[in-house]
Symmetry: C2
């Protein structure tokens, strides 16, 4: 079984349509490449009880949880408090983070800047030091900022810790109506119950009107299922395009 | 109080990063323009128990629920079954939808095509007839397909039923560090507790480094809060850009 993950996107600006979220898309693609199965994405407001509720549920349900957003110094940055509450922890100032902030802001440092060193008491720092902060993690929850460039740089630094056996993928493109192949797909899944099988209609493509995706971590199993599908399709005179 | 909404995006292809979701972004922008407050977006797999659980929770928590995806004729189209289960209803064939499908497929119609007329027994049809299907709704849940063009056309047809008092928005752009203004924002919210106030850092903009957003459905209240903010900023020699 693949390791599972959940992603919690925290930010009113996403829910009000002011900002397009780029982080969930980045993380699902990266995690898929690493062989991790993302099971859920939630986008929630900057509100402490909602953050702590979601983090608690996700932490129990999935192997890894990734949060994005809400880690700055202002009133709407409640992620650290929410995660602390989820694990019945207090927030306290982390000395190494405080030192990093004092170095960055130098003589101009004020108390509000140092608030970014306030993390759940059980937090650990992963990913070592680079130009900026390490990743803060609590239990199985990895905490990322909302700014895509910073999130991406931080994820790059720790991603190898999540790598496992890859997913293998086959795609089949057809010119047909989904109804025509529904019974074949149903039968294929009865024979290959562990196959991940998707069927997606396209209404505006000049060449194909269905894309089928077949996936498995077991390459041999996937090849057999793929061949079985092609045989079944050929029996009703449907042949893959592209 | 604004009416609230939740959006449930159903589809393995989003969680595996194969497809970028366009529907949640479209819906949050449209709903915001209509004056509706979107409180949560969930992206979940094509699995019946997960769909029914999420729909039940959302239906209780929000005034309106919008689902996207999982309404075709194949094995991975489980939205109708999931929504029926959420309300302890059975799925049954809807005569008007069946008629529409028979007209569309004409002599080629097969049983798998007609599956798209199988909807929860308590479903009603909204939005009337156009070139294609009406929107199917059950209780406060509005069911949309995953194909963005079709979703958008269907939403256009019914959106006026959701319209209410609009949100008013002011934006303030600054060149400063968020830490510098954290206390001012905190104080502003103490004086204007109903203000929706966001603070967003930018690290790569040549002109500004913070965008503040102020929102309310009460335009006069918003104007007073906006002026109070500008006064406070001026007191520490910060002036809006742009």
């Amino acid at each position: 079984m693949a390791k599972t993950a959940g992603i919690i996107v925290i930010g009113n600006e996403i829910l009000s349509g002011k900002t397009r979220d780029e982080n969930a898309l980045f993380l699902v693609r990266e995690l898929r490449d690493l062989g991790v199965d993302v099971r859920k994405i939630s986008v929630i407001p900057d509100e402490l009880p909602l953050i702590s509720h979601e983090v608690r549920e996700f932490s129990r349900a999935y192997d890894y949880v990734f949060t994005t957003g809400g880690v700055g110094p202002t009133h709407d940055d409640l992620t650290m408090d929410g995660i602390a509450a989820a694990f019945d922890q207090k927030v306290k100032r982390q000395p190494e983070l405080e030192q990093t902030l004092r170095r960055y802001y130098s003589a101009d440092v004020i108390e509000a800047n140092l608030r970014m060193a306030d993390v759940p008491e059980g937090a650990r720092l992963v990913g070592g030091y680079g130009a900026w902060f390490p990743v803060v993690a609590v239990e199985n929850v990895f905490i990322f900022p909302g700014v895509p460039e910073i999130l991406q740089r931080k994820f790059e630094r720790i991603k190898e810790m999540f790598r496992e056996a890859p997913f293998h993928l086959r795609e089949v493109y057809l010119r047909a109506d989904e109804g025509q192949i529904a019974a074949i797909l149903h039968q294929l899944l009865a024979e290959y119950p562990d196959l991940m099988l998707g069927s997606y209609p396209y209404f505006d493509n000049p060449i194909y009107s269905i894309k089928l995706t077949l996936e498995s971590k077991d390459a041999a199993y996937l090849d057999r299922a793929h061949q079985a599908l092609l045989d079944q399709l050929a029996a009703i005179h449907l042949f893959p395009l592209l």
